[in-house]
Symmetry: C2
Subunit: 138 residues, 2 copies
């Protein structure tokens, strides 16, 4: 394959009470708070028919990550042997995309209150997808 | 938020019997075939501890998509009202990332046979994540 790069355009970002990576739980269901997803005006039309109570997959960009990491100790635990990043959910990985399954709590124009979500304040968001009914597809 | 762009580096690509977008089912579980995921040598170390039988989330880049589309008829059905792309799984969206939940069928070095997956031949892959145990998190 030819070497090709692809450019992501953030569609919005998160406003969260989690300010530092070291404060964030490892996964949303490990006590993470709700957060506001602020969608940029130019993409707001894409939210049409998103409703309170919907389950969504948020794809974020872990902007504080190390992209040259290929092996990690899962969950940062040195007792767990080094493991390829593609077998882990480490935010340090070649393309630091985060997947977050959330519920829509509230909608105010192009702002969505969602949660639980472990990403920190200011995290860019690059995509939003519905959880498919009748499946557990990601 | 400042306007910032982010560059994805494909970590590999798919070899599939699906050659054209119009031949592909809408979702992997709608009769899609298995495919080979060819991981570039420079990222192969990241596969350490990925095993046959694992369930993975593949994040692809729908390289044939329209990025300026914000509303679509879901499933291409004109009888379904226009809907914001963030409430659909349309491949046409501002950042055309695809999510595919697959099972690892076979491993040959840095090549993984995975499926079912509806992405077409040549589709770039940008990330691989494990499905988390005891959750249906994406």
């Amino acid at each position: 394959m030819a070497e090709i790069d692809y450019i992501l355009h953030p569609i919005g970002f998160l406003q969260s009470s989690l300010k530092r990576r070291e404060d964030a739980p490892k996964q949303g269901r490990e006590g993470a708070p709700d957060a506001w997803l602020i969608v940029n005006d130019e993409f707001a039309e894409g939210l049409d028919r998103v409703a309170v109570g919907d389950e969504l997959i948020i794809i974020s960009w872990f902007h504080r990550s190390q992209r040259d990491t290929l092996k990690v100790h899962p969950r940062g635990d040195p007792a767990i042997p080094l493991t390829g990043v593609f077998a882990t959910r480490s935010p340090d990985r070649p393309n630091p995309l985060g997947l977050h399954r959330v519920t829509v709590r509230e909608i105010a124009g192009s702002r969505l209150k969602i949660g639980p979500i472990e990403a920190i304040d200011g995290t860019p968001v690059v995509d939003i997808k519905p959880v498919l009914p009748h499946t557990i597809d990601a």
